[in-house]
Symmetry: none
Subunit: 208 residues, 4 copies
């Protein structure tokens, strides 16, 4: 029984992994169930044993995205400094071999959210949770204390997430050839600039 569930979970994972690749390559609605089954190396019919229909696959992908964001948030929470927390948030998708896949998926997820209320609710929820987490992180952080800008932690979190989303959108425009390392470097640059803007004590510039 446990074995069955285990297998079931494996299968679902296998299918979702394949779906992620297909969705990133062609988009939710351009990827066919047959594409997914081929990528997963199984038959079309088998997908329907684990998912009610294509919509359900998309929902499950969204759910998995939610879990992954939660994991990233957890890691960010445990980072020793705010800068490192931000670095984790901004480069999470670069851990994968193919960061582009994740970027494209997330942009598609928002596109889907624009017209699928269920997805919109989920994404909004993920976003809110993540923002709450980061708001909290900022509120507790000593680095954020001496900031001169007078923005509330939640306002800072909002800006941080806007930049993070915006960078994901930018990522899908990058040429396919760009490696994960290069994408990561790009993200880190921007992260640090944002951090400097929000949290760096304005000492040096003052001397300038």
């Amino acid at each position: 029984m446990a074995q069955q569930i285990e297998n079931g979970l494996d299968r679902r994972t296998q299918i979702l992994d394949a779906a992620m690749v297909c969705f990133a390559e062609r988009g939710f609605h351009q990827a066919s169930m047959h594409d997914i089954s081929a990528e997963a190396g199984i038959s079309v019919g088998l997908i329907y044993r684990y998912f009610e229909n294509k919509e359900a696959v998309i929902s499950a992908m969204a759910d998995r995205h939610k879990e992954e964001i939660h994991k990233v948030l957890e890691r960010a929470r445990q980072a020793p400094s705010l800068l490192e927390s931000l670095e984790i948030l901004f480069t999470a998708h670069c851990c994968e071999n193919e960061p582009r896949v994740t970027s494209a998926f997330v942009v598609d997820l928002y596109a889907e959210a624009a017209r699928n209320p269920g997805i919109a609710d989920l994404v909004r929820d993920v976003l809110q949770t993540a923002m709450d987490g980061v708001t909290d992180l900022i509120a507790r952080s000593p680095e954020a204390k001496n900031a001169a800008h007078g923005l509330a932690p939640s306002e800072q979190a909002e800006l941080i997430f806007a930049v993070a989303r915006g960078m994901l959108m930018r990522d899908v425009l990058q040429p396919r050839e760009l490696t994960a390392a290069e994408r990561r470097a790009r993200q880190l640059e921007v992260t640090r600039r944002l951090w400097r803007l929000l949290f760096k004590p304005e000492t040096e510039p003052a001397y300038a």
Copy 2:
């Protein structure tokens, strides 16, 4: 003859307007040619007199988007202050009756760019032009002179556009009921915070 061209342009515009509505409602690939023709109040076949195929409609929409961004940029350039320039950039889509339509369209455009190199090139080009314009605006602006963060104008522009894109993504998550005015207010808030962060002399908050 001039009349014909005029008519031709009108038809194209009419079709693209309808396509914009459909694309925003259902996405590029979920919107059918029949949807577009119905929205435009014409027959399906007529679309093909003005566009080679659906792909061409999407391309033309992307082109039109490019032109609109250029117009917005021009308006931003002529604003009396940097803050007002940013306000124009961040709220351009709220001038329409249906800002959601524009937001959804742009997110879809990026999703399409992720897999359609032609669209990717165009979007990248639009983005670069816009960023160059804003970089220039910052470099010339007195407000940007006394900034304490030490970021180069192009780096500031990059952050600004990241936030702008990120806010568009956020906009598609907002409930449909949100009015244009409310969306605009939301955008302005964030714009001003960003502006304060980048360009406000860090005096007052210190007293607060």
Copy 3:
């Protein structure tokens, strides 16, 4: 009035000439009315002033084919010898710049006849008239007198027309590059062999 009819006839001819080119290039049903109008250098609507519909264009083409066959038959009748009559029959379509056009058209005409009873009747009628004419020619010909094969003139005519049709079919297989002259030469060879078979007194071979 006469002028109008004249113009009308000219227009019809112009349209049918264009249709012949299109039909030969793409087939009756693959050629669109727009193709024909473009080839004729007129508007689509104008075709409908002279022909009720596409079917009527095809019928008119078949009629014109009938008239042309009659003309060829007339020329054949006036030839000084049976051999020359046959040569006229077998090479009539090579007088045009593009014999292939005629060959392809005739093959298509028979294909159409296979399923369009009206066309079938017309083609059958043309064929019968032509065969009757040639039967008559043979019956009157001195060359046919000393034939050793014992075939009736009508039987000989039937064979002659079978070969003529068969050669048309072969012609459409020839590479496009083959010139009218080359096609003509090919036809003449076969014509002469057929003639030798049917009408040559069997003297020389006997000596051989």
Copy 4:
């Protein structure tokens, strides 16, 4: 597995059989995929599991035609006399319940060859192979020895095939009501006349 291939072949055959009927009835391009699926008693979509597209169905039909011609040629080769070989060649299509179907199909095939180079190549190849075979048959045949006409075997073969093709064209003009037996009788008459012309020693008629 063998079963699968078997089924696959059966389906292809079933589809091609249906296509043959439809093509003969309406022509390659007038017959719709829906017509074919209905004739085959299956759904439209299923055709696409066995053929890439309509073009591929036409090509496969042409291929099958090639194979059938080869089989006929083989039978002709094994006939005890040249006359019987010719009879097989000229009446092969009359073995079917519906000779008209085959005749119409072949005429359409040539019509298609006139504008589809791939089909033209195939048909030309079939024709050449068949003519080579018959040339060979004639060269080996004792009946052909004492022919008085002085035509080379290949020239005789060329005439034979011209007549055969021409008779097929004629066949499509015959009223639909004509039975297979009647068509066969007609073909045999002409075959024998042709044979007499080419191969009969010219003795008896001389006495007549």
